[in-house]
């Protein structure tokens, strides 16, 4: 368990402001944010590589704020693998246990066990510069978990790998996390990675934690427009709540009325809708639980698996190639974009 209390750090280009986080034991916790948000700095401060200006870091119920890294019992995995180039794979993996003066036989048994587990036994005598990126990352994982850390910290562990290896190693990470019952803190700027791996996500921007929650909440209910556009909500509508009917808010957006689930009373709001939550059809599909807006397709961009449609009413929808073919969608065609009241997320408009 990690508790971060009111942490501040000014570090040249980066700075952390008022960080408060509680990460539960055994949780896979992802810190998601754009480059330069200070994610790595936060992770390095949990590991003890930098001192905070203010605030406290507790690990497993102990205040570790002033402890040096070697007494914190954390594992750290960098994006660049950071294997010791002068040691072979076994040497890298045994580095930690050998420092702790564990019996030679125990070290040997454990390191063999871990290499077997990660499928890198055949690499044991190779040197890091002869390994592929994915192999290096596996060795880095083995080296970190053999010391049985109470927390595993991962700094963008997948971003230097190609897509195929990313997919494989993502699975590996999830699996190691589960069988070793680790508390993991994973830092990334990749939304997909966060969505797939995380038990909970903290969104970090400009040195602050701006939202914490389950993946589904982060991606479907962002707290503000910045978070929304960062997590890929491409449709941001402005409107005004006119009233409620059966618990469903009636929102006036330009000339049309939309039905949405909202806790707010009347007032100006922003509405977030993800492009993949929009269903494109040729016929109107109106109901109290579903909104339908007419629009003309003005642009179609083929991304392979999905096609992005830009409508003249400003909405962006993504449809599969198959449904685009079935519906015979063409540029200039009139279609209906419909989305459920529950897939709209309504937030109060901030006054500037």
């Amino acid at each position: 368990m990690i508790e971060i209390k009111n942490l501040y750090k000014d570090w040249g280009a980066f700075s952390l402001k008022e960080i408060n986080l509680e990460i539960k034991r055994g949780e896979y916790f992802v810190i998601l944010g754009p480059t330069g948000a200070g994610k790595t700095l936060l992770l390095e401060m949990i590991a003890g590589f930098h001192s905070p200006d203010k605030g406290e870091i507790w690990i497993d119920g102990e205040d570790m704020t002033t402890y040096p890294p070697e007494e914190r019992n954390v594992g750290f995995i960098y994006q660049d693998y950071s294997l010791f180039p002068h040691l072979n794979v076994i040497g890298n993996i045994r580095f930690g246990p050998e420092l702790k003066g564990i019996f030679k036989e125990d070290i040997e048994r454990e390191s063999n066990e871990i290499m077997r587990l990660l499928g890198i036994s055949h690499l044991s005598h190779r040197y890091p510069n002869t390994l592929s990126g994915g192999e290096q990352q596996k060795v880095a994982i083995a080296r970190a978990i053999i010391t049985r850390p109470s927390v595993l910290l991962l700094d963008e562990p997948l971003s230097a790998l190609d897509r195929r290896t990313q997919d494989l190693l993502r699975e590996e990470l999830k699996w190691v996390h589960q069988i070793e019952e680790l508390t993991s803190v994973h830092v990334t700027h990749d939304q997909t990675e966060a969505m797939i791996l995380a038990d909970r996500i903290a969104v970090m921007m400009d040195g602050r934690i701006v939202q914490v929650g389950a993946p589904h909440d982060i991606f479907n209910k962002p707290l503000n427009e910045d978070i929304a556009s960062f997590v890929g909500v491409e449709n941001i509508l402005e409107g005004e709540i006119k009233g409620k009917r059966d618990g469903i808010a009636i929102i006036d957006v330009g000339d049309i009325e939309l039905n949405a689930v909202s806790d707010y009373g009347e007032g100006e709001v922003k509405i977030f809708v993800r492009p993949e939550d929009i269903l494109i059809s040729k016929k109107m599909q109106e109901s109290s639980a579903r909104n339908s807006i007419r629009g003309k397709i003005i642009e179609m961009t083929n991304f392979g698996v999905v096609i992005h449609l830009q409508l003249d009413n400003g909405l962006i929808a993504s449809v599969t190639k198959l449904s685009a073919e079935d519906l015979k969608l063409r540029i200039g065609e009139e279609v209906y974009a419909s989305f459920k009241a529950t897939s709209m997320h309504v937030v109060k408009k901030r006054r500037l």
Binding site: P68, E70, S82, P85, L99, T147, P149
Partner: protein, 258 residues
């Protein structure tokens, strides 16, 4: 099927050829002349006990100076490689100064500080004598060779990713252990290179040693004395011998460097 026009490179090669030939001729001519026309002189020089003891003294004192440079220079190089602090650029300039100060000026300065009445020479005179003594030679060599050690070692430490030290710390290494089990082994080529450069520079020094410690004679001083007494014929054999030794040291240290 070459692309036309590589005139510039050909011209550049010609110009390069001149300066390379200049260096090679200057260094090779004495060796060849000596071997062709004075092989006996050379061999008798190689057996001359005075020559051998001077060369031995030179190599030994320079090695001692390099040892001192290691002891004090490795920490300095590490701090410069890892830390940012106010005045860092000034410290870097200070380290480079002994390269830029004229050798004779360095000699006067060392003499001024380390002679029997000098700022350091005087208080230490009951314990240690620098003027015309081995400590004087070592001090002179240390002064001129320190930057040749510190600069490559610093570059070496810079080449070690701090992430590696961080990982070592998180695996349970204290800062000492991270330093000598990770940083030093990875940077060892640079350290060896620094030792070679500094050692060579120490052997090389003449002006400072001439002023501070003419006696006991090091190789350079001996060559100069023989040159004044017997001219080229008397001094060249020792010069050739010393050049070959330096080439040996230089090439063997160079071969370990990447």
């Amino acid at each position: 099927m070459r692309i036309k026009q590589e005139k510039m490179l050909i011209f550049f090669c010609m110009l390069s050829f001149f300066i390379l030939s200049f260096i090679i001729i200057v260094l090779a001519e004495p060796i060849f002349s000596q071997f062709l026309f004075g092989l006996n002189d050379f061999f008798s020089t190689c057996r001359d006990p005075e020559v051998l003891s001077c060369i031995g003294l030179t190599i030994g004192t320079s090695f001692l100076a390099t040892g001192i440079a290691c002891l004090f220079g490795i920490p300095l190089a590490y701090i410069l490689a890892r830390k940012e602090f106010f005045g860092k650029r000034m410290v870097e300039s200070v380290i480079d100064l002994p390269i830029m100060v004229p050798h004779m000026v360095a000699g006067i300065a060392l003499f001024s500080v380390f002679n029997r009445h000098g700022m350091i020479g005087a208080p230490f005179s009951p314990i240690i004598r620098f003027f015309d003594a081995i400590p004087g030679i070592v001090v002179a060599m240390l002064f001129v060779s320190a930057p040749f050690f510190i600069n490559p070692v610093r570059e070496g430490f810079q080449s070690v990713d701090p992430h590696l030290e961080n990982v070592a710390r998180s695996l349970g290494a204290s800062e000492w252990k991270a330093f000598y089990k990770v940083t030093v082994p990875i940077a060892y080529r640079y350290i060896l290179s620094g030792i070679g450069m500094s050692w060579g520079r120490g052997i090389s020094e003449f002006a400072a040693v001439l002023l501070l410690a003419y006696y006991p004679m090091v190789a350079s001083t001996l060559i100069y004395e023989r040159f004044l007494m017997y001219g080229l014929a008397g001094s060249r054999p020792i010069a050739v011998l010393l050049m070959l030794i330096c080439l040996g040291i230089f090439l063997s240290f160079r071969s370990v460097r990447r």
